[in-house]
């Protein structure tokens, strides 16, 4: 293995990010090794999507240093984007394009040779059972179909690093099982995957390592088993509740019901 292959594919060193003078990421540091499948967990507003967007070169950090695939960000953002696949949390697409047209656009922007591109599009759409709908406009797609298109677009150019922000959102059970298998297969093929999700049991099954972000800080980093052992909890969900202080949700639920009946 050459030294560059041993080097981490993602290096976050004391990264800071602010929205409107409010710091949402406080000196976050971690590394992802090549071939790892890492889960990124955290409550709403914890900074998960911001972390992923910074990694994808979409947002520029306010401080700290970042290297993705060995390239510094945000200086080499265009080159980094060429090497990564990103599935955003919301399925924002050009609704008037067809599924085929959207994937062609994405592949061509990533410089995929035309024959290879058409072959990959056909193969991925077939696997996702979207081949019959490929000439329909995206505004006629269901939420799950749109999510599949986003996942397909992220894989077309054979990226080294895949960033998945809530990839199972809107997918039916079969598609979700298929994506989990796909993640395992991609990982076996040497791809690095950062998987952000609220579905903790999926993260527990798919990811070898888990990062938990809470209020902009990295509060846990390790395998699901090691986190369970260190917090003396039996499930990842309990670990999450313990670390993020979300065990006390029941009074809030009672308040909602009381307000509805008042």
């Amino acid at each position: 293995m050459s030294p560059s292959e041993n080097a981490p594919i993602v290096e976050f060193d004391r990264v800071v990010f602010s929205y409107s003078h409010i710091e949402v990421l406080h000196q976050i540091s971690f590394q992802l090794a090549r071939g790892e499948v890492v889960g990124l967990l955290g409550p709403n507003g914890a900074g998960k999507s911001t972390t992923i967007k910074i990694m994808a070169g979409i947002l520029a950090p306010g401080g700290g240093t970042i290297r993705v695939t060995g390239l510094p960000l945000p200086e080499r953002a265009v080159d980094v984007k060429q090497r990564i696949g990103y599935v955003p949390e919301t399925a924002v697409l050009f609704d008037s394009l067809t599924g085929q047209e959207f994937l062609e656009l994405s592949g061509r922007l990533h410089d995929v040779a035309e024959d290879t591109l058409q072959m990959r599009i056909r193969s991925i759409l077939e696997t996702f059972s979207l081949l019959a709908d490929r000439t329909s406009r995206l505004d006629s797609y269901s939420k799950g179909m749109r999510q599949k298109i986003l996942i397909a677009a992220a894989l077309l150019h054979n990226p080294e690093l895949i960033l998945l922000d809530e990839p199972l959102s809107g997918l039916d059970v079969n598609a979700a099982i298929m994506i989990k298998d796909l993640i395992a297969a991609l990982s076996a093929g040497g791809k690095t995957i950062l998987y952000s999700s609220h579905v903790l049991d999926v993260v527990e099954k798919v990811c070898r390592r888990v990062l938990i972000i809470h209020q902009g800080k990295l509060i846990a980093d390790g395998s699901a088993e090691s986190l369970k052992a260190s917090t003396r909890e039996s499930t990842l969900e309990d670990v999450f509740r313990n670390l993020t202080g979300s065990a006390s949700v029941d009074p809030g639920v009672a308040r909602i019901v009381a307000a509805m009946q008042s």
Partner: protein, 542 residues
């Protein structure tokens, strides 16, 4: 014609054009991919808010401008003005018109990059992306410059110009258009570089007002320039003057180049922050006494909903504010310019600006009502599909209440205070009563122009153009009404009182009928919206 277009296309995508693009730091393959994408989106009506991508709107604009400048050229020919003056007037007219349109379009493209969220994670560099985004400015120039200067350039021959004058005139106009387009891009480049993303939309809107404000301010300050004689401040020697000119040109070119570099360097990294940027301002949760009153008078919680909804959205909706911006400087200048007219009572027997006031409010409402249905957050309109049918009537009355209270009643309260000071309480009260009645009558009629739920449709650049003939027609009707008032009404206070009562009663009847029409329009448009349920309810179907 098609063959000519194809040949031009081949030339533009040929090797020499690619080399030129590469020299400018633009990646040709991705540039053409994005340009084709934007064209395709516009063709499929997904990107219609950009004038340069909307061929129908461009053609309509071009025909209207062509008619206006053609008429102006004929008038100048009849007046037999000197050729140099003729050329300068049309060039200035082109500059003012293009500055207004291009500032607005550049702002809309760069400050509201809706497509940016889909493309932000693609490997596209800033220069390529901004160049592709701003290509539609070139289309605007290609349509509007010949429209503005085509007829005047040809008519110049009738003023004794040499045979090559039309070519010279058009070349100068195109050059001016390109300089203005580059200047607009540079201004927004500087703004994007130095203004925080959360304030960018507001800053962009202020920048859009600047050309109109300068133009109108110049109308009021021409006399000042004649007294100050700025030419006296300049050095007299040719060499010094040339040096000063070169330095000024150098600074201008430098500022434009730096602005463009800011745009190509920073833009793509800032897109996500720009799209998601909010002012960060927090609104209070206090309960408004006015909305309590509206709920009590106009039909309970749904009317309060209509009142509060329009009240908040008119202040916060970016596209709505953007549509009103070109009208704002003219309105403010008109109000400031006619403030001194308040000293003279409309009952003095003389014609005063105050006599125009009720029709002025009618005019303002005429501009606002048709624009009310368009907004940035139109996709949130699905909420109204869930409202019970019986709530739509009071909801429409709540919207009427906002228009009546905020645009008619509140300004008249201020007017009453000022007028009472100069004319005495009796005349001020009588005039205010009359003015409120007339403005309410206008509102009653103009409610019919609100074609659906407010802020429920994406903006359409052609909409204002379709209204243009009605603006001229309405202006004529209002001028006749002002004349009738002056000659037959304002000489007798009892006549004004009677007229106020009669117009007020008519306003009530008209408003009642128009509210029914408005409610039907809301129902009809909600029906259309639910017919497109596959778009709105794709999650449910999935």
């Amino acid at each position: 014609m098609n063959r000519l277009g194809e040949a031009a296309g081949r030339l533009l995508r040929g090797p020499w054009a690619c080399r030129l693009l590469q020299r400018l730091g633009i990646e040709p393959r991705r540039f053409w991919l994005l340009t084709d994408l934007f064209g395709q989106l516009a063709e499929r009506r997904e990107m219609t808010s950009h004038l340069g991508h909307n061929t129908a709107a461009l053609r309509l604009n071009a025909w209207i401008l062509c008619g206006m400048t053609g008429l102006a050229a004929v008038l100048m020919l009849l007046a037999q003005i000197a050729l140099a003056k003729y050329f300068a007037i049309f060039l200035a007219m082109t500059g003012v018109m293009l500055a207004g349109i291009l500032f607005s379009e550049t702002g809309n493209s760069l400050v509201n990059p809706v497509e940016g969220l889909v493309l932000a994670h693609q490997p596209i560099d800033g220069a390529t992306y901004t160049a592709a985004k701003l290509t539609h400015l070139a289309r605007i120039l290609l349509y509007l410059v010949p429209a503005l200067d085509g007829i005047p350039a040809i008519c110049g021959l009738l003023l004794g110009a040499p045979w090559y004058y039309p070519l010279l005139h058009l070349a100068a106009a195109f050059l001016l258009g390109c300089v203005i387009a580059l200047f607009c891009c540079a201004v927004f480049g500087w703004l994007i570089r130095f203004i925080p993303a959360r304030r960018l939309k507001a800053a962009g809107q202020i920048a859009e007002i600047v050309p109109w404000t300068l133009f109108l301010a110049f109308q009021y300050t021409r006399g000042l320039f004649q007294h100050i004689h700025p030419s006296h401040w300049l050095p007299t020697g040719i060499a010094a003057l040339a040096g000063l000119g070169l330095a000024a040109a150098g600074v201008s070119v430098g500022a434009v180049v730096m602005g463009l570099r800011c745009l190509s360097g920073d833009y793509l990294v800032r897109i996500s922050a720009i799209v998601h940027g909010s002012s960060g301002a927090k609104a209070g949760v206090r309960r408004s006494r006015t909305s309590d009153l509206v709920a009590w008078c106009f039909g309970g919680p749904p009317s309060r909903a209509g009142f509060e909804f329009v009240s908040r959205m008119t202040r916060r909706d970016w596209q709505f504010r953007r549509q009103l911006i070109p009208m704002l400087p003219a309105t403010v200048m008109l109000l400031v310019g006619s403030a001194h007219e308040l000293r003279t009572s409309p009952f003095s027997g003389r014609f005063t600006g105050a006599q125009v006031a009720p029709h002025f409010f009618g005019g303002i409402l005429f501009l606002i009502c048709p624009l009310l249905v368009y907004g940035s957050d139109y996709q949130g309109a699905w909420l109204f599909l869930l409202a019970p049918g019986r709530a739509l009537g009071p909801f429409a009355r709540g919207i009427f209440a906002w228009l009546w209270l905020r645009i008619i009643v509140m300004p008249h309260v201020v007017l009453l205070g000022g007028a009472a000071w100069f004319w005495g309480m009796r005349d001020a009260a009588l005039f205010t009563l009359y003015s409120v009645a007339v403005a309410s009558f206008y509102l009653g009629l103009e409610l019919r122009l609100i074609d659906g739920v407010p802020f429920s449709k994406p903006p359409e650049p052609t909409r204002q153009n379709y209204l243009l003939p009605f603006v001229f027609l309405g202006g004529g009707v209002m001028a006749v009404a002002v004349g009738v008032q002056y000659f037959f009404l304002f000489h007798s206070r009892p006549a004004v009182l009677l007229a106020a009562l009669a117009v007020g009663a008519a306003a009530c009847l008209v408003t009642r009928a128009s509210l029914d029409t408005f409610e039907s329009a809301i129902r009809f448009n909600l029906g259309l919206m639910s017919a497109e349920a596959k778009v709105l309810y794709r999650e449910v179907e999935g």
